[in-house]
């Protein structure tokens, strides 16, 4: 017992989840003109939430990281036996911290960098609602609660892209009229994700009816590892869960919403989307699909591995073809999440640990890449890499961070990105006994080729954007390098990238026990 123990019985986690939402409601009541007040309240709320999440982490018993802790369970919808059941273990804790942390940085960045139409009130309340959805997904231990939080992120992100997004007009195959990028991207994002999650909900109901009418994830895991779900039923349920999570990750070939959404979204939108929202999908696999349906996971693992390998290669090749800086980073996400899914598909503790650190690292690194590229797009008013060049000379601070982040993203040893890729390949080399080794080793080779291609497109990007002489069109223009708000938002991510790169135990210390317990319980490996 200590002075923080009052946070233990679910209170701390509930604050982390609902405090942003409550603040969002308060912000609705503040007049629009009080912009500074709105921004300060938002920042205060996010900081408070972050601090509470840190306190929760302090209370977390790392020696028992495989157990769900600090949670609570109270009745929520009694007529369907759904409860407000929350808790964290070593798998969810790093992601929860990532979410509260990135939210703070996103808000700091938004202080001075709101795209048209400014409307700080709208943007700030959307970020806060989004944060509630993200945090909630990582702590929910009831399928229905999980579903609600999982979906809660859709509306804010839809409006973020749709209102503050890219206004360039583009033509879309199949549409008669040209359409603004933001409008097309926002509804595409929404429809794709809803399509996946509508079917996912049917899957949840299937588990509910076969699993003694409970939505509780721990109870279902108990049932699932004892073989309660089998046959065609389980195959179908895994298929729909796969659909729901894979759209969110996104896995090839369900990824097509992602480049559009990322390119169109305002900078903070892209950052939150890349850093956190994508993780909701891969987290769903680890938290729900694998432990509840282990036999099906074994059956489906080769398919997931192949799709991941395709995703890695496809993402890298697509990157090589991009001229748009943000679109390039968006496609790089497809590749990086491919590594995460490849790690998960190996069904080994190494692979899943790789996925966990890969998720965190991708959140930090790609989040930072989107910060930087968004800021550059704002400064140069273009994302066309053909027009950029000599960024190092024009914007030395931004350029330096871009160079650093690109190095981290290509998996340079010593930086955070390395562990996820390296260990995912390791996991794929030696998948769970009984899995088709040929498929996994081929996927590993594809992944290895992917790392080379990744290095290729990132270095080429750096060469085109950062190096060389500035183009004439920029010389007589006054370009602003990163200001203090941006640096305050970025530097912590740089530090984290190095820290996790040098001490991967920061993540593994939390995840390892939980992952090993998961694997041994579900797959006996």
């Amino acid at each position: 017992m200590n002075s923080l123990s009052f946070l233990n019985n679910g209170l701390g986690l509930s604050i982390v989840v609902f405090f942003p939402l409550i603040t969002a409601i308060i912000i609705f009541l503040i007049p629009k003109k009080q912009e500074l007040l709105i921004k300060l309240v938002t920042l205060g709320s996010a900081l408070f939430t972050f601090v509470v999440s840190l306190l929760v982490a302090i209370q977390f018993n790392f020696n028992d990281a495989s157990t769900l802790q600090l949670g609570m369970k109270v009745s929520w919808i009694s007529s369907i036996n759904s409860n407000y059941e929350i808790g964290i273990d070593g798998i969810s804790l790093p992601l929860l911290l990532l979410s509260t942390f990135i939210s703070v940085l996103a808000i700091i960045y938004s202080f001075e960098h709101l795209p048209e139409p400014k409307n700080a009130k709208g943007m700030m309340s959307l970020i806060l609602i989004l944060e509630t959805g993200m945090n909630g997904t990582f702590v929910a231990l009831d399928l229905i609660l999980f579903f609600v939080f999982f979906e809660l992120v859709l509306l804010p992100m839809y409006f973020m892209i749709g209102i503050w997004g890219d206004k360039t007009i583009r033509s879309v195959a199949g549409l008669k009229n040209d359409i603004e990028t933001r409008l097309y991207a926002s509804i595409k994002f929404f429809v794709f994700t809803l399509f996946g999650s509508a079917f996912m909900l049917l899957g949840f109901l299937g588990l509910y009816f076969r699993g003694n009418r409970t939505f509780s994830i721990p109870e279902l895991i108990e049932l699932g590892t004892n073989g309660a779900f089998s046959g065609t039923f389980a195959t179908l349920v895994f298929a729909v869960l796969f659909l729901g999570f894979a759209v969110k990750v996104p896995m090839w070939p369900l990824h097509t919403w992602l480049p559009d959404a990322h390119t169109a979204a305002p900078t903070v939108g892209s950052v939150l989307l890349a850093a956190i929202l994508l993780k909701l999908g891969s987290y769903g696999f680890v938290r729900i699909a694998l432990p509840i349906l282990p036999d099906q996971a074994v059956t489906w693992a080769p398919a997931i591995a192949i799709l991941s390998a395709i995703g890695i290669i496809y993402g890298s090749l697509a990157c090589l073809a991009q001229t748009d800086l943000k679109r390039l980073i968006a496609f790089s996400s497809v590749g990086h999440m491919g590594f995460v899914m490849l790690g998960i598909s190996s069904l080994t503790s190494i692979g899943i640990n790789a996925a966990m650190i890969g998720m965190v690292a991708h959140g930090i690194i790609t989040g930072l890449l989107f910060f930087v590229s968004g800021s550059m797009a704002h400064t140069y008013h273009t994302r066309d890499m053909g027009r950029l060049g000599g960024n190092m000379k024009l914007l030395p601070k931004t350029g330096a961070i871009l160079a650093f982040t690109a190095m981290a993203s290509l998996g340079l040893p010593g930086l955070a990105g390395f562990w996820g890729e390296f260990m995912a390949l390791l996991g794929a080399y030696n998948p769970l006994p009984g899995l088709n080794v040929m498929i996994f080793r081929s996927s590993m080779v594809a992944g290895a080729v992917g790392t080379v291609l990744t290095a290729g497109y990132l270095l080429w990007m750096l060469q085109r954007v950062n190096l060389g002489e500035p183009k004439d069109e920029w010389l007589d223009q006054e370009l602003h390098d990163a200001d203090n708000y941006e640096l305050v938002a970025w530097i912590p991510l740089v530090i984290l990238t190095v820290l996790i790169g040098v001490f991967p135990k920061l993540i593994f210390g939390a995840t390892n026990d939980a992952v090993i317990a998961l694997v041994s319980k579900a797959f006996g490996g």
């Binding site: 009745s75 929520w76 919808i77 009694s78 007529s79 369907i80 139409p117 229905i144 579903f147 609600v148 979906e151 809660l152 859709l154 509306l155 839809y158 409006f159 749709g162 209102i163 933001r182 409008l183 926002s186 509804i187 929404f190 429809v191 809803l194 399509f195 509508a198 079917f199 909900l201 049917l202 109901l205 299937g206 509910y208 009816f209 039923f233």
Partner: protein, 488 residues
């Protein structure tokens, strides 16, 4: 007294007529006041009865039953009518004439709906249905000078009469076969004499289904709805799409579970197909609409498919408890979000009077409150958490999958696909008013002023929509209560 809320409505009706005769024109707003107060008063006995509920109260030799099912739906109808009155105040006043009749007719329709919820014999139910729908023929043609209104109301009237005669024909067949009026006796005789699956019983079921199908606008009996909705005054349309539809559903639920529960799989399969096709037709047609009212008309057709699906599957599996629970919960949540959606159209049309919703570009900047209403109600209709609509869809899916039987499963997949199609058009209004740029300069602040009765409707619906999404337990308990006591 068990029927005090009906009596209060009757007294209000009489009061409205007398006041209409006595009052000079400038004081006619008092009628509105009396009607609003009357409907609120009628709500009180319901609360009281619900709180002190012990067992179903059977009156008039089994013809009229007050149970939890009927109480909950009576409460719903009264609340919806109250909100419709509030929606109507400004409209009727701007109209200058016929105030008395307007409220009189709406109250009559309410009385009919109340009767339907408790009716347990053929005659009472028929009278209830017709009392609920006949006033709507007049109300939908309220805008006399408007050609569309005339067209819509004539269509509605002709089809309404046809549907009444179909229902009556079906009822008379039942009476002819069994010689009984009360549902439980009819069901007993059908089972005892092994007639439940006889061609005559099925024919009467099909006729009744067709007749009620018009009221709830399911495919292929839906064609009147868009025209009538478009022509009718907006508050009347809101009432039509919520209360009239719910009345039809209540009648259908009672008939299916009290008489036709043993009619074999055939009827259920027909219903399953109808409900699936209704979702597709409603949603795919709604995608094409640029007129917001027509959009909501098709949306309400699609929603009818959703509401019908649990009862349809229940008719195959015999699991009426889950089916009724899902449909009633859906009806309750749907009522408030749909009224809210019509309110949004109403407010926006006050600002820019247009039949093309694309003229409303960027309006949310001028009217942020309307903008927020639009987001809440339309995305709730689409079923996006944490707004109430998600739970309505969820209970429907739950009841469809409860037995794991193939028709339920197929219908659930159809429903999931339709939820996604629905999102595309439900998001459109929010997209237009929040994201598009204005087509023309919006004038003064006066245009964007929202009258307080409309605000009340907005906030009541808003609170109910959000609460039902975050704490669905409250509404779900109502649905559950209605289904359990209904089966006893």
């Amino acid at each position: 007294m068990a029927i005090s809320s009906e009596l209060i409505v009757v007294l209000t009706i009489i009061g409205a007529i007398i006041l209409d005769i006595l009052l000079p024109r400038r004081l006619k707003f008092i009628i509105a006041l009396v009607s609003i107060l009357g409907s609120l008063t009628a709500f009180l006995p319901i609360i009281f009865q619900f709180a002190n509920y012990s067992s179903p109260e059977i009156m008039f030799e089994g013809s009229y039953v007050i149970d939890k099912f009927s109480l909950i739906l009576k409460g719903l109808f009264i609340l919806v009518t109250y909100l419709t009155f509030l929606l109507s105040v400004n409209f009727v006043e701007s109209d200058e004439y016929y105030q008395g009749e307007y409220y009189f007719l709406l109250l009559c329709s309410l009385l009919g709906a109340l009767v339907v919820t408790s009716s347990r014999d053929l005659l009472t139910m028929f009278i209830g249905i017709e009392l609920a729908s006949t006033p709507m023929f007049l109300l939908s043609g309220w805008k006399k000078g408007d050609q569309k209104s005339n067209e819509g109301s004539i269509k509605f009237f002709l089809l309404g009469v046809l549907s009444a005669s179909l229902i009556l024909y079906g009822f008379s067949l039942l009476y002819g076969v069994t010689g009984k009026l009360v549902f439980s006796e009819i069901a007993n005789i059908l089972i005892q004499q092994d007639l439940a699956q006889s061609p005559l019983a099925l024919l009467s079921a099909i006729l009744i289904l067709a007749g009620i199908g018009f009221k709830i606008s399911i495919v292929p009996f839906h064609s009147w709805a868009p025209d009538t909705y478009e022509g009718a005054p907006l508050p009347v349309t809101a009432y039509l799409s919520v209360s009239s539809k719910a009345t039809g559903f209540v009648a259908l639920i009672i008939l299916l579970s009290k008489i036709f529960f043993d009619s074999g799989q055939g009827l259920g399969i027909v219903l399953v197909f109808i409900s699936g096709i209704t979702m597709f037709v409603g949603n795919l047609s709604a995608l094409q609409q640029t007129n917001p009212v027509r959009l909501l008309a098709y949306s309400s057709i699609a929603q009818a498919g959703f509401i019908l699906s649990p009862i349809a599957v229940a008719n195959i599996t015999g699991n009426f408890e889950d089916g009724v629970y899902a449909s009633v919960t859906y009806l309750i949540i749907y009522a408030f979000m749909n009224i809210g959606a019509f309110l949004v159209i109403n407010i926006l049309q006050r600002s820019i009077d247009s039949e093309d919703m694309y003229d409303w570009g960027g309006l949310a900047k001028e009217m942020p409150l309307a903008g927020i209403f639009a987001v809440i109600f339309f995305f709730s209709l689409a079923g996006i958490p944490p707004l109430g609509g998600w739970f309505a869809k969820f209970v429907v899916f739950r009841s469809l999958l409860s037995t794991g039987e193939i028709f339920g499963l197929s219908l659930a997949i159809v429903g999931a696909v339709n939820a996604v199609i629905g999102l595309v058009y439900y998001s459109r209004i929010s997209k237009i008013i929040w994201m598009d740029s204005p087509k023309e300069e919006i004038q003064s602040d006066e245009e964007s002023f929202i009258p307080s009765p409309l605000k009340v409707v907005g906030f009541v619906s808003l609170v109910l929509t959000i609460v039902s999404g975050i704490f669905p337990g409250i509404f779900s308990n109502l649905g559950e209560a209605s289904s359990i006591f209904f089966n006893s």
